[in-house]
Amino acid sequence: MILHTVNKSVFNCNTLNECLLTTARNDGVLLLEDGVYGALETAHPTEIHEVSWYVLKEDLLARGLSEGQCREGITVVDYAGFVELTEQYKSVCSWF
């Protein structure tokens, strides 16, 4: 029950893939900052994992991305939702 945050673009570096090596089935992955590009339909993390996927709304907006451009199955959360996720999950692990 760990919430992983990832703030790097999957198009440029390995951070998200390294994160996904360590995730368990009950974990969550929150994409934020430049990590939100990993939510695009055109982004392909090496494996589809059984984690729950989230993406930070404010960071999508800041970059001109819409929810419609995101892969199916990703939940869009705002900062309040980010806090709620940190309540739900037992700890937070940041990948940068």
């Binding site: 900052e33 900062y79 806090v83 309540e87 940041s94 940068f96």
Partner: protein, 130 residues
């Protein structure tokens, strides 16, 4: 719940500081407590008293200071990371015979143990890297 926040990115270079600040506000808005914000690596530059951003940009050190004062949050800067990067309080300036100090009011220099302690004492420790 009791939170602490770790910031590893420098202001005006990486978004990490902004993200951490918005997260901190949202944590407080939810009625949680923030015990401490710990600044490490380039995050220590957040503690500078001398930043002078353009008028239409946020003064991040002062934003932290105001948030901390209003909500009883400790702003702790890793002393080892700070001193080597040129962020000094008056004591350290004296110790190293430097002509001045530049740590913003409301921040304190302390050891990395304060980061370990935050992880132990708090229900959640959330880190923001560059």
């Amino acid at each position: 719940m009791k939170y602490s926040i770790a910031v590893y990115g420098g202001p005006y270079s990486h978004q990490a500081t902004h993200t951490a600040f918005h997260f901190a506000q949202a944590v407080l808005d939810k009625g949680h407590e923030i015990q401490r914000v710990f600044f490490y690596h380039d995050g220590i530059y957040n503690g500078s008293a001398l930043v002078a951003p353009p008028q239409d940009e946020a003064n991040l050190p002062q934003q932290w200071q105001q948030l901390a004062e209003k909500n009883g949050v400790e702003l702790v800067v890793c002393i080892a990371a700070a001193v080597r990067r040129g962020l000094l309080d008056e004591n350290e300036a004296k110790r190293y015979s430097k002509p001045g100090s530049n740590l913003e009011q409301g921040y304190q220099l302390s050891g990395l143990g304060q980061l370990v302690d935050a992880g132990l004492e708090c229900d959640r420790l959330v880190s923001f890297g560059p």
